[in-house]
Symmetry: C2
Subunit: 470 residues, 2 copies
Amino acid sequence: MRQNEKPISRTVLFYIAMFCLCGLGLMWVLKRGAQLESHPINTPVASVLEVKSVGITSALEANLRQPLGLLLLQLLVVLAATRGVGALFRKWKQPLVIGEMVAGIMLGPSLLGWLFPGITKAVFPDASLETLSMMSQLGVILFMFSVGAELEINHLKRWAKTSLVISHAGIAIPFVLGSALALVLYRPLAPPSASFVVFALFMGVGMSFTAFPVLARIIEERGLGNTPLGNTAITCAAIEDVTAWSLLALIITIAKSASPASILIAVVLTLLFAGAMLYLVKPSLARLLAHSETEPFREHRALGICLFLVLGAAFCTQAIGIYVLFGAFLAGAILPRDPRLITLVKEKLATLSSNLLLPLFFAFTGLRTQVGLLGDVTAWGYTLAIIGTAIAGKLGGCYIAARWSGMTRLDAFTVGSLMNTRGLVELIVLNIGYDLGVFSPSIFAMLVLMALATTLMTSPLLSLTERWRR
Amino acid sequence: MRQNEKPISRTVLFYIAMFCLCGLGLMWVLKRGAQLESHPINTPVASVLEVKSVGITSALEANLRQPLGLLLLQLLVVLAATRGVGALFRKWKQPLVIGEMVAGIMLGPSLLGWLFPGITKAVFPDASLETLSMMSQLGVILFMFSVGAELEINHLKRWAKTSLVISHAGIAIPFVLGSALALVLYRPLAPPSASFVVFALFMGVGMSFTAFPVLARIIEERGLGNTPLGNTAITCAAIEDVTAWSLLALIITIAKSASPASILIAVVLTLLFAGAMLYLVKPSLARLLAHSETEPFREHRALGICLFLVLGAAFCTQAIGIYVLFGAFLAGAILPRDPRLITLVKEKLATLSSNLLLPLFFAFTGLRTQVGLLGDVTAWGYTLAIIGTAIAGKLGGCYIAARWSGMTRLDAFTVGSLMNTRGLVELIVLNIGYDLGVFSPSIFAMLVLMALATTLMTSPLLSLTERWRR
């Protein structure tokens, strides 16, 4: 085409002529059309939108008060806070998640809302929280799916003996200690809607979680990835994850159900769901997603199947009444361990959700956390008791079990320190308790601080063990 | 550790002992705690959640009526429809987007809502549309960002001469024809809130868009990627995109503003914004994202910068009052053309949004499209007139300009057919018109059908030219 291109002047001529003609045409159309306006008062469109022309500022404000403008503002604020504080904590050799947790709390009534209540109210008005909550939930669902997909099932088989004991000790012991603590905390802190049994069970389960993803990242960062110690810790965390989420599903059922019969129904339905996922969905998935090494990986198709799987599983668990995240986690765990598939889920599907939607979850949790409620010495005493119990139960429990199964003191302490990391997973569990009305705002704030403290201490503790080793 | 592992019996013993002890401990705690319940009536948590234990079905229903359950259901339905119909149309050698457009229309009042109005009302109740709309908007914002990032700016320089004339002819001619058609359609179809000028301008701009991403995909699928013809077409579409979005921004300003002064302010602000993006943000981006070839690509950082950029630009355009997508598109267009960065945006950032959020946009458009409104022969006559004008203006306009600049008849026809593809971009523009109150539901339905028809005909037309070539 370039070869037989006509001289440029001819093209320019055409261009100018076209514009003149079209311009004239448009003018004629608009002139003719003016006669068509037979509407009694020629209302400008602006009036429909209720934009008043009273200066720039008010017009700008009106544009921003629309839901989309507000959502964009919220996303920007949350991103700036989590990224900024996250970068700060990273400088101090802390995992990113700590910074994000702290940033969320800073946006809520504990800092920003306390210093400038007007700003928090303007950026996060109550009416906008529904959309924000939905988006953050979607982020957490996809996050749990990728946690399930990351689960090292092969490890689970190879390192099972020792790890099973350690991880179950790391659930049972903090669980009992947590529920014993409930004896002290129930009277002063439990909301009137929560019965003691439910409160105690939630306090117990709230102590028993380990942040699998944070732990996995710390192990990688510290170069423990392929050591027996690192493998044991990863396997412990994996077993712990499966056990603790199943336990939580049961406790949620007990908390929500009014009668023993409905608890039984929910348990049966959950078992049926888990059975169907493991024995019907898992084999068909393997067939659907089967690929020979030479065949190109059909990404669009695999993405569709993954999305159906995770949304469908989340939907089923929501219908049963246990938590959506149980389904999302199970969906990830039954994915075929094709490395291309796991990479797709971890690196492509989860990119947007972990960079944009998950920070919303931290902000959402922060908006609920009122550190200001811990006004007096007693409250801070309770908080310290909770943190102490959590550490004693988890770090201590894992240490004892690890020593008993023959580990050295240093190794046992390292595994215990790693398992003590609560991270984001703990925040998810606390929010479930809050939504169910089991936790009051003040005990919620205390438990959030516990999650922060136990996550914060992991890196220093590990540095300590490294120094001891030398 | 494995070597000096203690005999298994010892571990089993510990495990059993631990469980017995912890079990007894928990029982004691729960028994003691029962005395603590001093609340007058021991309300079970269930009552807080208003779940009544009247059988499984109603419990399931209650769980699903919660916003998260509904959202999951909507996502599943939309995914199933777009994926299913998309696969069907793919079999017929049509681009995926056609299937997704049709699926969206099928979910709305045109098919599902007409056959089973109860289902549409139950799955997409009005109260849930706000969240759905926000999520689909976010999807479209990220989509426009990746369209901008895909924009072949180097092509733009190399093939500019011919392409500029063709693409501007492909805007000016359908624009004038579309606004001339408004002379006929204004009286019977325009909503009372729209003045003739605004209606005619929107009819014009509605005819002038080309679906850049659909066109790019078709060119790739047909193996035209590196031919002069394919390059000219891609460049035409790129120039068209930039021009048409700028034009739309201007027309939206005219539509929204009550006085000439506020139009002027918006235009000045838009120019300031575009200038700042091009001359301040673009150079700093290049510096922020600069990487030597050997250095590892810092993905987390790049993702953060991209998200800030696109959300910030969208926020600014929302504040000015032109459409958010103008900002998102510009943000993509000024990204440094580092291939790793473009891959990151296209393949990672956009994966979730184009697979999950964008289908919501099709569904959202479909829920507004009431093909049933075209009840009589006159309405279908108008629809045909609109489709005819759109084709004559775009395909015809581009053909004439291409012939004039020296292309063969066959090449000119091929370029015209490609530029005639409306696709998703057209739906975005139509929704803007609908939101502004410029399009009535019936003319909205007609224009959606026009978008469908022009997208649908591209593949057959190209197959025709291929047969002629042989």
